[in-house]
Amino acid sequence: MPLYLLVTLALLSLASYYLGKRRAISIVGGQMRQLHSLPSYYGTYAAFWCVLPGLALFVTWVALQPRIIMEIVLFSLPAESRNIPYGELNLLINDIKNLVQGSMVSSTPDPIILAAVEQYHRLEAIGNRVLWIVVLMLTAVGLRYAWNNISPQFRARNRVEQVIGYFLIACSSIAILATIGIVLSVLFESIRFFGKVPISDFLFGLHWSPQTAIRSDQAAASGSFGMIPLFAGTLLISGIAMLVAVPIGLLAAVYLSEYASQKFRAIAKPALEILAGIPTVVYGFFAALSIAPLVRSIGDFLGLHVASESALAAGLVMGIMIIPFISSLSDDVLNAVPQSMRDGSYALGATKSETIKRVLLPAALPGIVGSILLAISRAIGETMIVVMAAGLSANLTANPLQAVTTVTVQIVTLLTGDQEFDSAKTLSAFALGLILFITTLILNIIALHVVRKYREQYE
């Protein structure tokens, strides 16, 4: 069992650490001053050489073994079973996998499949045994090598620190790998999508109706994949959110940093930060069950026709969510303006509000603009509020009382449905994800650039 091998390796690492340490101490007869490094480093060196090669082999083996065994099993199937269309081959593979795991399949299995499963089990058992033997051999060889190297002049600490350094570098590169992974995965699937739907249709089309035919004679088979209505909906809801959040957030930041007493600030600032910590599902629930009916009844009262999933409701709640972003970022920027500028303005006879409006806000403007851009990028990428409170049908409108849908809602609905993965419908979700990623990336870069370039340098 592969898991037991991991446990064995862990125990072996402890044992080799202990052995290496004892070897180092004994080789100098207890005079530890004659050792180059602390004994623990010799122990760690021995443990590294014992375990790390075996571990690396283990990980690659376990990752590749299922695929290789499946290939062998498929290859040894009789010719007619192999030359079946791709879809049926996938089903066959699935059946074999299910039977191997011991779960049931839908129909009584073919004897060919049963034979294949038998072969899979045999190969798996052989593979596991070979894995054990090879890994244990590697640990023995590694321990022997390290044992031979341990001597008083041996620079164990440098070697150990080198290995740890590589580990640190590997961890740092995971962040880069994540970005590359995001870009590649989204790009790869989007390219497949653009092979089925032309890119100009997608970028400039005005109609979003993602239906694709499952059978050739299906009605309403052709789908249109124009992204503009989705983007318009996103901008509408984000626009309403910013209309709510920017005045409230900015004024609140100004009040808390300039006018409020210490006590008031100590209570009000954390209270506003609470809004930032509430999960977005809660906002979505609040929007769908409290705000949307309220907006609807106010609309009925005023004689306007308000959709039950209006953009106004979703935008309002999204604005509430964004208030702490703008307020805390602006608060930081306002506090960074030096007191001398304020004092100079007061000395000239300006009132506090005039100082704020004419001196502080212009001085802090790059930071404030940066925070607004970051807030817009957050609003555009927000998913749960709009999934629960905004509509599903794409509507190209500027009327906040109508139901619109956004890019993120469509991504969720397309990928939590039951379409097969290869169809244009599900692949369009990745294309939408690509557009979303590029947009938020550009906004973030612009925000960073604006803040860096126009930031006032105070002495």
Partner: protein, 431 residues
């Protein structure tokens, strides 16, 4: 003299505008205060709305039935045969008991309404009771069973008695039965333990958050085990060891961008890479933890770098001066001093990961999972996704359960953020 009169002119001009300016000042100050109060009102509004909706879910209505474990009705013998007894029809017992309670009910449609008073769960309650106490076979017992969600809604006052019969979900007859049961003390409200012990269910009175809680626990565990070591190591490398060149700048910009990417993109990454390419089990806490750890990694790296940067250089140089190597200096001196800040950042990152639902929707944790997951490979769901699923269901009773689940989620978030703040206050040192 002309200077004096010029000064007087200036003074009059200035004084004339003073009142206007002071009024503008007062207005501006009021706007600011109003904005802060508006923000605080939103907080209060949300909390009160959720608590008022969710509080009734903590109480659940039970009906007391006198049940005869009649072997003939159960179509069993009196001998204890676990297998056979487990498969018997306990619905027949509840129905018999209800018929005895209300002997005047005759017609088929009325009887159907009568049976609906009790939850479909009641039969399983009786079965479990009998299997635990085999001596009950053949005797009559007073058993408290779950009432159906309709009855529960009525008791909690969600159904208006005064409305016309066609406009409410409960008929007059059902209401008269409920009144009668209440009058005889056979109907009572108890604390809703089912909510914390059961998994998800289609019947609102049985639905609980235990499956979601355990799923959240496993997912957060995987997230923490992956993102904390990797994040701390990356922060240490970037802050202490990396040469300060253009490559380091690019990495820093990259990490800042990653922190601001919408969470749903990580879900797309998880779907395309972890599920389709690597073939990991869909909807397992393992994959959810992998995706969430990718999301939390930039937060931990940024917080870790800030914590490491706040340790003064004198400590590093003193260690180096004593002959320590760079790695020794970092691990023995800088890291322990920066650890409170790193832990604070990590806890806040974990709290964010607890509330995330969008990326987990993408990797399939949106299914209807009834069983409690037993390990990180079993299909599971997390609490925010459970809230999302319940919010979509049409039954009225799910609204209060969703709100109660939100209360549990918010309680956890407040606990985690409070822990981070306490940690920060107690252990952070100001140099």
């Amino acid at each position: 003299m002309s200077t004096h009169s010029a000064n007087q002119d200036i003074k009059t001009i200035v004084n004339a505008g003073l009142q206007r300016r002071h009024a503008a000042e007062r207005r501006f100050r009021i706007y600011g205060l109003a904005a802060v109060c508006l923000g605080l009102t939103f907080v209060l509004l949300m909390f009160s709305s959720i608590i008022s909706k969710g509080y009734p879910a903590l109480w659940q209505t039970y009906i007391q039935l006198s049940v005869t474990f009649d072997p003939q009705v159960l179509d069993q013998t009196s001998e204890r045969d676990v297998q056979a007894w487990a498969n018997a029809d306990y619905n027949a017992l509840t129905r018999a008991s209800l018929r005895r309670q209300f002997p005047q009910v005759e017609s088929r449609s009325d009887l159907r309404l009568l049976y609906r008073l009790v939850s479909p769960n009641a039969q399983f309650q009786l079965r479990d009771l009998l299997l635990e106490n085999p001596q009950f076979m053949g005797s009559e017992q007073q058993v408290w069973v779950l009432a159906s969600s309709g009855v529960d809604a009525f008791i909690k006052g969600h159904i208006d008695r005064s409305l016309d019969e066609t406009m409410r979900p409960l008929k007059d007859q059902e209401i008269s039965w409920i009144d009668k049961l209440q009058a005889t003390g056979q109907l009572e409200q108890r604390f809703n333990l089912e909510f914390f012990q059961n998994g998800d269910s289609r019947d609102p009175e049985q639905a609980g958050i235990r499956g979601a809680l355990i799923g959240s626990l496993y997912t957060l565990l995987v997230t923490f085990l992956l993102s904390f070591p990797i994040g701390i190591s990356a922060a240490v490398y970037l802050e202490e060891f990396a040469p300060k060149n253009r490559w380091a700048d690019i990495i820093e910009v990259n990490i800042n961008n990653l922190a601001a990417v919408p969470s749903i993109i990580f879900g797309l990454l998880g779907l395309a890479v972890f599920i389709n390419f690597f073939g990991l089990p869909r909807s397992a806490p393992l994959v959810g933890g992998l995706v969430l750890s990718l999301m939390t990694l930039p937060v931990i790296i940024i917080a870790g770098r800030a914590a490491l940067a706040s340790v003064p250089p004198s400590i590093r140089q003193a260690a180096l001066g004593m002959g320590a190597s760079k790695l020794q200096m970092v691990t023995h001196h800088v890291l322990p001093l920066a650890m409170p800040g790193m832990l604070t950042g990590s806890i806040i990152g974990m709290a964010r990961a607890l509330g995330e639902s969008a990326p987990l929707l993408m990797i399939g944790m949106v299914a209807f999972i009834v069983d409690i997951p037993k390990n990180i490979f079993d299909p599971a769901t997390v609490l925010p996704v459970q809230i999302y699923l319940w919010a979509d269901l049409p039954e009225r009773a799910f609204v209060e359960r969703t709100a109660a689940a939100i209360m549990v989620l918010l309680a956890f978030m407040i606990m985690m953020n409070g822990l981070a703040i306490i940690l920060r206050k107690r252990f952070e040192r100001r140099w």
